[in-house]
Amino acid sequence: MESLEQIKNRAELAARGAKIDIVVNPGPAQQSSLLIDNEHAAAVAQFLRNHPALTFDYCSNATGVDWLDRVIKKTTKVKTVVDGVEKEVDQTIEEKIPGYLEAVYHLYSMKHKHGPLIIRMRTANRTDGARLPSLTPIWRSAELQEREIFDLYGIHFEGHPDLRRILMWDEFVDHPMRKDYREPDDYEWEPTPHDDVLEKAKQHYTPRPQLDGAENVTAQPQ
């Protein structure tokens, strides 16, 4: 398989105006990926599937990632003049990155037996209007998985032939795989709670003011 840079350059040439970034994975897997802009995603995907040297004809996996708002601290060396002497001083800049949702596709080529090529798309924000173009028209195998992403992360895939919930029922409104999902409180009977579960189960403990003193009662039973 060609290197990511080569694929990126070719794809940018083939799909005019497409903007592709390489997202580097510094982990041991070193599976870096291509970040594709939403507007040209369909054209780039078409290119990846049809180009004779690439022929990524099989989308084995599509999944979602939820990124919350986060703050990145960057430390740079800045030259400043302190007491008439020029010094190098560490300066910390806090950069705020607004949250977004991501859809990740793993592509393989059955014909050339190479892969995986990982492509990503990002939504503009994390609110419920989060939209991405659907790649189902290009890889049919993404259909159910995009429905799953829609169900669990709440990304709306435009151009998907049948976008409904797949795991949860239709009346359900939440997206359970989002990091800020709050599950319903049904922790009334936890025989061996610990950590998070203990905190939730404590909401259901009966207070014992005669033993612990009223001021120590932290939670009220419901």
């Binding site: 029922w169 239709d170 599950e183 009977w189 403990y205």
Partner: protein, 209 residues
């Protein structure tokens, strides 16, 4: 000696003379406990063990329970074998409601008891006893076929001890006991209601200081 019971000494004496004495209650319960027909459905991996129990090595037929019925109308016993997801729970309750009285429930495996390995999952019901009354619980993940057989024998023991008349008579003979339970509805965040308070009585947890 309570009413309806036979003096054991007299009975064995008569038996030696070639006379078999029994009571209506004994005959009725003997017939019922030896022909328990389970409902044929499995939900997850525990169902594989249930199938093994029905197959020749463990052979649930020895206890009269081999006739798995594909229709709730012909079943006496519901073996909830496997993970009950929240999406499946209304169907299970509806199946239970459609079974004719008398009916019994065995909650097989950690999942059916409490949600098991998936207890904190967003999609798993934390125990089928939130909606329907359970007669026998079998812990395990999955319980071995022997455990299911044990539960089956436990259920037979329970059936054997049920009374035909009097204050403590069996539920299905009591006109006041319900035979159907409300089916939970799909809510916006969870099943509605999350548990049926008439059925589900979790132990009260003392606050630990």
């Amino acid at each position: 000696m309570s009413e309806g019971q036979i003096d054991e000494a007299l009975r064995s004496e008569l038996q030696r003379q070639g006379v078999w004495v029994t009571s209506m209650q004994e005959l009725y319960n003997w017939g019922r406990k030896n022909s328990i027909w389970p409902l044929q459905f499995g939900l997850a991996c525990c169902a594989i063990e249930m199938i093994a129990t029905a197959a020749s090595r463990y052979d649930i037929a020895r206890f009269g329970g081999e006739i798995f019925r594909p229709s709730p109308r012909q079943a006496d016993l519901m073996i909830v074998a496997g993970t009950v997801t929240k999406k499946m729970a209304p169907q299970i309750v509806r199946l239970y409601n459609q079974m004719p009285d008398p009916k019994y429930v065995i909650s097989m495996g950690a999942c059916a008891i409490s949600g098991g390995p998936f207890k904190q999952g967003y999609n798993v019901l934390k125990g089928i006893d939130r909606y329907i009354p359970v007669d026998v619980y079998i812990p395990g993940c999955p319980p071995r076929p022997e455990a299911l057989l044990h539960a089956f024998m436990e259920l037979q023991r329970k059936i054997d001890s049920q009374k035909l008349t009097g204050a403590g008579k069996a539920e299905h003979l009591d006109a006041k006991q319900p035979s159907e339970f409300p089916v939970p509805a799909f809510g916006e965040h969870d099943l509605q209601p999350p548990a049926n308070p008439d059925v589900y009585h979790p132990p009260v947890l003392e606050r630990q200081s």
